[in-house]
């Protein structure tokens, strides 16, 4: 198939490689509304009720109808179904969203050097797997603009349609909600008395943050409870933050913003060796809605004096 996509010379290797990654086969429906989205934000009685359709100008109706049906997987509803003088075709997706293609000899070109203006679609994992086969079959250039911002189980691919319209397909697979265990057994985090109250230390090999709070030690999983993004500790703002969809967590792991209704960061049990080293057992994960003082493991000295 012919597309107007330019050569991918300016893409990074990560952006190209990420575009080949496949979710596990599944028909699970999407559970997230796109990067930047915050659920529960639907207006009760707004100006409009729901998204209905997208209208795109295309140079050749036959070519684009075929592309959106064959590659993008839309059902063809028919032609000439709108109050529109120019030749047009209507296609439908499973949520009832429609795509209307209007033949226009002067399609407005995408401005070069930017993907800011783009249209994104949602697929289930199986639909996404099929799409990647189709783009391969038609030798369409694909990449991932947000390669560094994808949580585990979140899949995105960017490409262009035959008229150079910038497209993106998003899929949040069930892997995004699976609990990821580091499988590195018990890790020795060093002498417990080397941690001051307030210290936060990352153990990369296990994706664990060991935090010393006044009640004791918390070993927190680095995987965000929203969708398995890898969180980071923002020392200057005293909080954990997730670069994927902006959830934030306090030092005890409580969710504090960015995404509503998510649990506190998961914990791993902390024990202490006879020499007083903090040992984190990464084989068991402890789920919790929020921080409770008894979740913190007291170091031996504190336990003796308590």
């Amino acid at each position: 198939m012919e597309t107007a996509a330019p050569a991918n010379g300016y893409r990074t290797t990560r952006q190209l490689e990420k575009a080949k990654e496949l979710p596990q086969a599944s028909d699970a429906l999407p559970q997230y509304g796109g990067h930047g989205y915050v659920p529960g934000s639907r207006q009760e009685e707004g100006f409009v009720d729901r998204i209905s359709h997208l209208v795109l100008g295309v140079g050749s109706l036959d070519r684009s109808e075929h592309f959106y049906n064959d590659v993008m997987g839309m059902d063809i509803v028919g032609r000439g179904l709108m109050a529109e003088q120019r030749p047009h075709a209507v296609l439908r997706m499973n949520t009832g969203c429609m795509l209307v293609l209007v033949e226009d000899k002067n399609v407005v070109p995408r401005r070069l050097g930017t993907n800011a203006v783009h249209h994104a679609f949602t697929m289930t994992p199986n639909q996404y797997r099929r799409l990647l086969e189709k783009v391969k079959e038609h030798e369409i250039d694909v990449w991932v603009d947000r390669a560094q911002y994808l949580a585990e189980g979140e899949f995105n691919v960017n490409f262009r349609d035959p008229d150079d319209h910038a497209l993106e397909v998003c899929c949040d697979a069930p892997e995004a909600s699976e609990v990821i265990l580091p499988n590195v057994g018990t890790i020795d985090c060093g002498p417990a008395d080397s941690f001051k109250v307030g210290d936060v230390k990352l153990f990369k090999e296990a994706d664990v943050f060991l935090v010393r709070v006044k009640e004791g030690f918390l070993a927190m999983s680095r995987w965000c409870t929203h969708m398995n993004g890898r969180i980071i500790w923002n020392r200057e703002h005293w909080r954990f933050q997730c670069p994927y969809h902006h959830a934030t967590f306090d030092r005890c792991g409580n969710a504090t913003g960015g995404q509503p209704d998510i649990d506190a960061l998961r914990l791993y049990p902390v024990n202490f060796s006879p020499e007083g080293h903090a040992l984190v057992d990464t084989s068991q994960v402890i789920h919790r809605a929020c921080f409770e003082p008894q979740q913190a493991s007291k170091p031996p000295k504190v336990a003796v004096t308590a």
Binding site: G46, V48, V55, A116
Partner: protein
């Protein structure tokens, strides 16, 4: 069944992101979700400036400023000539037309669509970037389609 669920979000450009966002909030009742600010390394490389994210009826719009170093195409139809359509129930459609008048929102329509198609009537207007938008009622409003976002 189709092999695609639906629309996910739209990236649009407006001359001024703040007044653009104000239009989405004041006229369309958009909800500001957050402002995505990309990593420092991206910003240094000339990519990913902060951009606001707003949902209109649960649908996400990401707004970017027009790039002043690249001339806008001569088009009365927004940057890429696309149009986003929202629907309301047939019952509410007249209220929306009245509301658009109250808001002094310049619009075209209502326009009647052919009876054998999925659309009933539409009105058309533009955002501050000249991007075309549409509100319609649909003849298939009783059909039970898949949800846009299925809750956990």
């Amino acid at each position: 069944m189709a092999n695609i669920e639906g629309l996910n979000h739209t990236g649009r450009s407006v001359p001024d992101v703040r007044t653009g966002e104000q239009f989405y909030v004041d006229v369309l009742g958009a909800h500001h979700c957050n402002t995505i600010s990309s990593a420092t390394e991206d910003v240094r490389a000339g990519r990913g400036a902060p951009h606001p994210c707003n949902t209109v009826a649960g649908y996400l719009f990401v707004l970017f400023p027009h790039q002043d170093d690249i001339p806008l195409p001569e088009s009365p139809r927004g940057e890429d000539g696309s149009r986003i359509g929202f629907s309301v129930s047939r019952q509410r459609f007249d209220d929306v037309v009245a509301r658009a008048r109250d808001l002094e929102l310049p619009f075209e329509g209502p326009v009647q669509h052919p009876e054998h198609g999925p659309f009933g009537e539409s009105l058309y207007f533009t955002d501050p970037g000249g991007n075309f938008m549409e509100v319609c009622w649909r003849r298939d409003e009783e059909v039970a389609y898949n949800p846009l976002v299925s809750k956990k």
